[in-house]
Amino acid sequence: MSTLTEAAVESAVRELTYAEAIREALAIAMEADERVFLFGEDVGVYGGAFGVSGDLVHRFGTERVIDTPISELGIAGAAVGAAITGMKPVLEIQFSDFVTLAMEQIVNQAAKIRFMFGGKAKVPMVVRLPGGSGTGAAAQHSQSLEAWFAHVPGLKVIQPSSPHDAKGMLLSAIDDPNPVLIFEHKLLYKTKGHVPEGDYRVPIGKAAVRREGRDLTIVGSSIMAVRTAAAAQKLAEEGIDAEVIDLRSLRPIDFDTIAASVRKTHRLMVVYEGVKTMGIGAEISAMIAESDAFDFLDAPIVRLGGAEVPLPYNPVLEKAAVPQEEDILAAARRLARGDA
């Protein structure tokens, strides 16, 4: 994949936004493989609702960057049909909330076809799902629904938090012979970070230890990995040494990395934006609580998830509905100091 050419050296300092990193991954995949195509609502000349596809239609033409009618169920099904007959579709669902219209095709068809057919078909499709709150878009445009899909065998679910991973994981996803859902937090699109040039892969199913620490383990996913990393800096100043794990992959979950960390720190906190109840934190907590890492726990496992409420429009309420850096700090302090 990536070789150490001059370009790579130069790229060591290259910064892109998360949206640009995704676009670059799409361009690389489309250039390398004719079977890859992008489709969805307004991905063409509009450039995507969040500007992710940008100018791709001009580079690859309208046959490979395809604007669709507003028909989420239909386009999800079209992805399935294209995938099982030799193409590698990348579908954008304009806001992840609209995947509610496409569940049938994703869950009953894409996830199950290979198994139902006794292994006689593959469904190599990628669904890109901009999600999350923080933009004032209210209850029907701000959800974090990734936990649903982590419950579905046959699917893979990823949630990169950095431009680097967004590119590398999307390239892995496009290469994967299974349906992969990639949840992209809308607030991340404009965040910048180092992104190497060319083709490289970040594997699906591996979490990343963003910071080593001894006092407690904080697992964060998507934007919560970013907020957690920021919080950990401040905690360090206070003398609390947090190990920060960026989950990245929700199905499969990288149990080993989390368990190893818990065995070291003896305290676990999981931070996620989705509604707390039945959110991804429940699974991580349960995985640890049923494993032999349980014996290493010195305190209850803390989940910091979204409030039990549809996302409110009012910006103050909206912020209050999902974990903010202050909330992570406060919860981490309680957990580390044992007064949880």
Binding site: D67, T68, P69, I70, G136, A138, Q140, P312, L317
Partner: protein, 338 residues
């Protein structure tokens, strides 16, 4: 609609659709169209100045379909609206002050600041809500129709949706059910030529959304959506049929949104010329011109209406700004009813 008693509405050479709207009603029509326009201009300005967050979808240029389609409605009739719903909301009688308050996320907004532009509802006023989901209101309207029928109410439901929404499966399922059960529903498609950036000509193979009514054995009518009297006439007829048990109608108002889809739209998919061309068909100025041509209103009288609307909007905006914010302690209130 007191056309019988109102002599001014009987001026010679008026087309019947215009004559059918008496002066008092017409004053209300003009007031509402101006309110919608000025409400959205003020909302846009507030947004630009960073006073409102989130996004909003302006219907500037589409005022005639909102006001025309609801003109025959009674207070207790229902509407279901869309993401581009300010016009519908005002047309059904909502107070701009409480709408602005909602935009500003205030406690006395229509949704106590929880819904914002995309979810404004005025349930007491018969507005069952804007909807952030394209086509989301269509199946809900079916249930409203079932409800009206089951409760033997003399009501109708008007459900608005866009040309883009007519490609959602929800459209198909809703129109089919409304038709087989002969529900009292007006399906009002505001065809503004685009679903976001997607030209209707690329999104569907038929020239008119109304052509799809055939698939449900339902009357389908195309009307100039920038022609208020024409829209009102078509809607009145459909509402009468619905009340009489004749079932639903699909009405397609051909119109145009003069603003971008939302605030992030760079208008890459259409030409300046096209926008200018439609600007010249402004439904408000067009109606005013026809009214003065027929000497039903003087330019001064029209100006008075417009100025009053502007004053109303200015006051509404002040009200909203001065309104209280929600208490963050109430975060999870109203998730459940007890």
């Amino acid at each position: 609609m007191k056309a019988d008693t109102d002599t001014s509405a009987r001026r010679p050479n008026q087309r019947p659709e215009l004559a059918a709207i008496d002066d008092e009603t017409m004053r209300g029509v003009l007031r509402k169209m101006h309110l919608i326009r000025k409400f959205e201009e003020a909302a846009e300005a507030s947004y630009m100045r960073g006073l409102i967050h989130g996004t909003m979808h302006l219907s500037i240029g589409q005022e005639a379909s909102a006001v025309g389609a609801t003109l025959a409605l009674m207070d207790e009739d229902y509407i279901l609206s869309t993401h581009r719903g300010h016009g519908h909301c005002i047309a059904k009688g909502a107070e701009p002050a409480r709408m602005f308050a909602e935009f500003f996320g205030k406690e006395n907004g229509y949704c106590r600041g929880r819904g914002g532009s995309m979810h404004i509802a005025d349930v007491d006023g018969g507005n069952l809500g804007a909807n952030g989901i394209v086509g989301g209101g269509l199946p809900i309207a079916v249930g409203v129709g079932m409800s009206i029928k089951a409760q033997k109410l003399d009501r109708v439901a008007v459900v608005f949706f866009g040309d883009g929404a007519s490609n959602e499966g929800a459209f198909h399922e809703a129109l089919n059910m409304a038709s087989i059960w002969k529900l009292p529903i007006l399906f009002v498609c505001e065809n503004n030529k685009y679903g976001m950036s997607m030209d209707i000509g690329r999104a569907m193979a038929v020239p008119n959304v109304a052509d799809r009514a055939v698939a449900y054995a339902m009357p389908g009518v195309v009307v100039d959506g920038n022609d208020l009297p024409a829209v009102a006439a078509v809607a009145r007829e459909a509402a009468e049929r619905a009340r009489a048990g004749g079932g639903p109608t699909l009405i397609e108002c051909k119109t145009y949104r003069l603003r971008g889809h939302s605030k992030s739209d760079r208008n890459l998919y259409r030409t300046k010329e096209e926008i200018e061309e439609w600007r010249s068909r402004c439904p408000i100025r067009r109606l005013e011109a026809e009214l003065t041509a027929h000497e039903r209103f003087t330019p001064e009288a029209l100006m008075t209406i417009e100025e009053a609307a502007q004053a109303e909007i200015d006051a509404a905006l002040d009200f909203a700004k001065a309104s209280p914010d929600p208490d963050p302690k109430d975060l999870t209130r109203d998730v459940y009813a007890d």
